[in-house]
């Protein structure tokens, strides 16, 4: 408010958007690796998808720890005496660590060719992987004072963004017509779901009261307009859907083009949603 106010910072910087991005891809890649035990066309992805998932999980975890102002205290999140279960961050920390442990166990059993255990770990890991985008969505949803964030859409949107980004990365390492067609469908349906959710999100933001309305202005015609509307919606959602619907979108090269665009869009959407929810508050 006012003609004079002290300055307030945005608590969550762009680093969190990168974290959301890599952890979303990691979750989806694990899901594809797990799917390979039940769908033969995904077999070619089993090891490479897992490798990408694990590397990104480690990178995401390190990014999250490095962004804390007290990085060594990340262990506090694992201390049962400290945990506050009303915070989605506490659940997220546990989910992340458990997913990491299951991933290591999955890697070991795959190396030993222990199919029965690998199958079980694949299912457990896939469920934990699903928890990652859900918890990151809840991280934002629970803040009742934040426009854009405080909507039940967030966890679902993050699941769709995760699938979309994972499928986009998978097109670069996939082989086989059947698998490519499955990935094309994953990209198309999840991009469609993201587009539908963005329409709802824009509607509720534009009509959500003064703070939300101002946020809508910042995200469309304001400082975030180019990133959100330009890169996130036009380049990163509408254009790849259009490419995937054409004949060239059924070829691997076309899918890789669409995948590249979806990755740009996935990052831009996560960034603009994260920052968009914080701009107005810095003026209060």
């Amino acid at each position: 408010m006012g003609d004079f106010n002290i300055f307030h910072i945005m608590p969550w910087s762009g680093t969190y958007a990168i974290y959301f991005f890599v952890i979303g891809i990691s979750a989806a890649m694990f899901f594809f690796s797990a799917l390979s035990w039940y769908r033969p066309e995904f077999q070619v992805l089993r090891k490479p998808a897992f490798n990408v998932s694990f590397v990104l999980l480690a990178a995401g975890g390190l990014l999250l720890i490095a962004d804390l102002t007290q990085p060594m205290r990340f262990l506090n999140i694992l201390n049962p005496a400290y945990l506050n279960f009303s915070s989605p961050l506490a659940w997220g920390g546990l989910n992340l660590v458990t997913f990491g442990l299951v991933s290591i166990a999955y890697f070991m059993t795959m190396r030993k060719n222990d199919e029965a255990t690998s199958r079980k770990l694949a299912v457990a890991g896939a469920l934990l992987a699903l928890g990652l985008p859900i918890y990151t969505g809840f991280d934002l949803t629970v803040h009742q004072n934040r426009p854009v964030w405080n909507t039940p859409l967030m966890p679902v949107l993050f699941v769709a963004l995760s699938l979309l980004s994972g499928a986009a990365v998978a097109t670069f390492i996939a082989k086989g017509e059947k698998l490519l067609e499955m990935l094309r469908r994953f990209m198309l349906w999840s991009a469609g779901a993201v587009a539908a959710m963005l329409v709802s999100l824009l509607g509720t933001t534009a009509y959500g009261g003064s703070g939300s309305e101002l946020t809508f202005m910042f995200m469309t015609s304001g400082t975030l307009g180019a990133v959100f509307l330009g890169l996130g919606i036009l380049v990163g959602t509408v254009a790849p859907i259009a490419v995937l619907l054409t004949n060239s979108g059924k070829q691997q090269s076309g899918m890789m083009l669409a995948g590249g665009l979806l990755l740009v869009g996935g990052m831009a959407l996560r960034y603009s949603i994260l920052i968009g929810g914080q701009i107005v508050q810095t003026y209060f």
Binding site: D3, F7, P11, T69, N84, L89, Q144, F218, Q281, Y283
Partner: protein, 234 residues
């Protein structure tokens, strides 16, 4: 009053429990900023960040204009979103008194509490401080817990020259804050967030305390200063 209590964390009307609150009479605030200075001195609050601050807005049209000051601080909410948001219980509510406090040795610096606070009452302490070794953790107003438990009032209340800030126990019907809240129309900031703040304003006008459309086209000079501030505090 107790029928308004929803969450078990709330202390409204709980027998035998104190519920400290501050009433700020905006008709008496002259914008001298003595409260900010007293707070800085009491806690060695570093440059650039504030536990209490006094923004203003020029309202009216010439020649009928005035500066409206709105002293701000942590609202010590009865249902504080920061307490829910903290993953390691580094922020907590004191059962008797309703103070929302911080455990500095436990804070991991994830800033979830800052994101959840509708009042921007929380800030990150910088890396370097001259006299105090508590750094790089989230800090905020404590309602001067250390003074109040010794029978004193908070430093900002003690120093307020216009006696604009009044402090006391809302659960005590004989206290001055109870009298003011019960007998005068008071406002809280952002009541729609359901946080049930414990800072009450007399004479605040929501037309002026809310975020206005002006922020969409802020003055360039302010934006340059904001950018510099963000650079130094990121």
């Amino acid at each position: 009053m107790s029928e308004l209590r929803i969450s078990s964390i709330e202390t409204r009307g709980v027998p035998g429990k104190k519920r400290y609150a501050m009433v700020i009479d905006l008709r008496r605030c002259i914008g001298c900023d003595a409260c900010m200075v007293a707070c800085k001195a009491e806690f060695d609050v570093p440059l650039g960040v504030f536990r209490t601050w006094v923004p203003y807005k020029v309202i009216g049209k010439y020649p009928t204009v005035r500066k409206m000051f709105l002293p701000r601080l942590c609202n010590h909410c009865d249902d504080p979103p920061c307490v829910r948001a903290c993953p390691v219980e580094a922020t907590y509510k004191v059962d008797d008194g309703g103070f929302v406090l911080q455990r500095y040795d436990r804070c991991i610096g994830c800033k979830a509490c800052m994101a959840s606070c509708p009042y921007n009452a929380r800030f990150m302490l910088p890396k370097h401080r001259t006299y105090t070794d508590i750094t790089r953790v989230v800090d905020k107003c404590t309602f001067c817990h250390h003074r109040v438990t010794q029978g004193l009032v908070p430093a900002c209340v003690q120093t307020c020259v216009g006696r604009s800030r009044i402090f006391g126990d809302l659960n005590d019907p004989a206290s001055e804050v109870s009298y003011l809240v019960n007998s005068l129309p008071t406002q809280v900031l952002r009541p729609e967030e359901g946080t049930k703040p414990h800072v009450f304003y007399i004479g605040a006008d929501r037309n002026h305390t809310e975020i206005g459309r002006k922020i969409y086209n802020p003055q360039d000079v302010m934006e340059v200063e904001r950018a510099v501030f963000n650079q130094n505090h990121s």
